[in-house]
Symmetry: C2
Subunit: 132 residues, 2 copies
DNA sequence: CTTCTATGTTGACGAACGTCGATCCAGGAA
DNA sequence: TTCCTGGATCGACGTTCGTCAACATAGAAG
């Protein structure tokens, strides 16, 4: 089921030291954008969090669907996108299909968004007083 | 310039301990999805990385535009989306407009995507041998 | 075999998105 | 003032996305 259809999963070419330290090239940006785009939908975010927070063995689709006011094919479609983004994987066990998180991808995103240590935070020029 | 038009910047209601530990509710998901959607475009990712990697004082739009094969209004539009997502802010200095990163937002995203410590990684039930 | 249930797939529709040309606004220079 | 330049806004176009109903598929149970 998780055969050859991952688009932006494993290899990025490098370890991606973060997009906050050096401008990333077009290829990296395109690949990363696919994953972020997969996260750019409330339904998929909730699906991912429901799957990720169930730490054991995987979550059955039949547990996910009733949490939404959406038709079953819609849920299936969102799960497919999350899978193609390399964020989750799935397996059929008898009648049901179970999904689980691929923490490598979320780890990678977290590392990319985190700044090295305590980046200088370039001397507030008078602005930067935005978020609470 | 950075007045009242941020949509998903500051307050989330809580500190958001991460979407990997507990299923997030509809409101949190909707708000988070706006930010991830802003990151879900290669051009915006490159813009953000170019802005973020210039640690001092901000980047002029005139330094950003020539890096893309896009018309100037398109770049302006992408910058606006990044600003509405609370990821960057800008200021006019004379003739030019300078953009800079709002690290609070990227910090928040990184924290949300990171798992608490070394999450159990739920005893591979036979699957989980997917990636690489 | 047939039947039932749980999911994935297909095709279509409206809405949102990315892009552009044209235009407008803000500042600096003459 | 009038010009010019950097950047934002507007309106429109084609593409992509989210959603659904209909259908297809995979196992389990008769």
């Amino acid at each position: 089921m998780s055969k050859h259809e991952r688009d932006a999963s494993g290899r990025t070419g490098a370890c991606c030291p973060g997009l906050l330290t050096a401008p990333l090239d077009e290829g990296q940006a395109t690949e990363l954008a696919k994953v972020f785009k997969a996260l750019g939908d409330p339904v998929r975010l909730r699906l991912l969090s429901m799957i990720a927070s169930r730490a054991g063995g995987g979550v059955c689709v039949c547990d996910l669907t009733p949490a939404f006011d959406l038709a079953q094919p819609t849920i299936s479609h969102h799960l497919k996108l999350l899978r193609q983004a390399g964020l989750i994987d799935c397996e059929r066990r008898g009648t049901w299909v179970y999904y689980w998180l691929l923490p490598e991808m979320t780890d990678r995103l977290a590392a990319i968004l985190a700044r090295p240590a305590g980046q200088p935070l370039p001397e507030p020029t008078g602005h930067a007083g935005a978020a609470s």
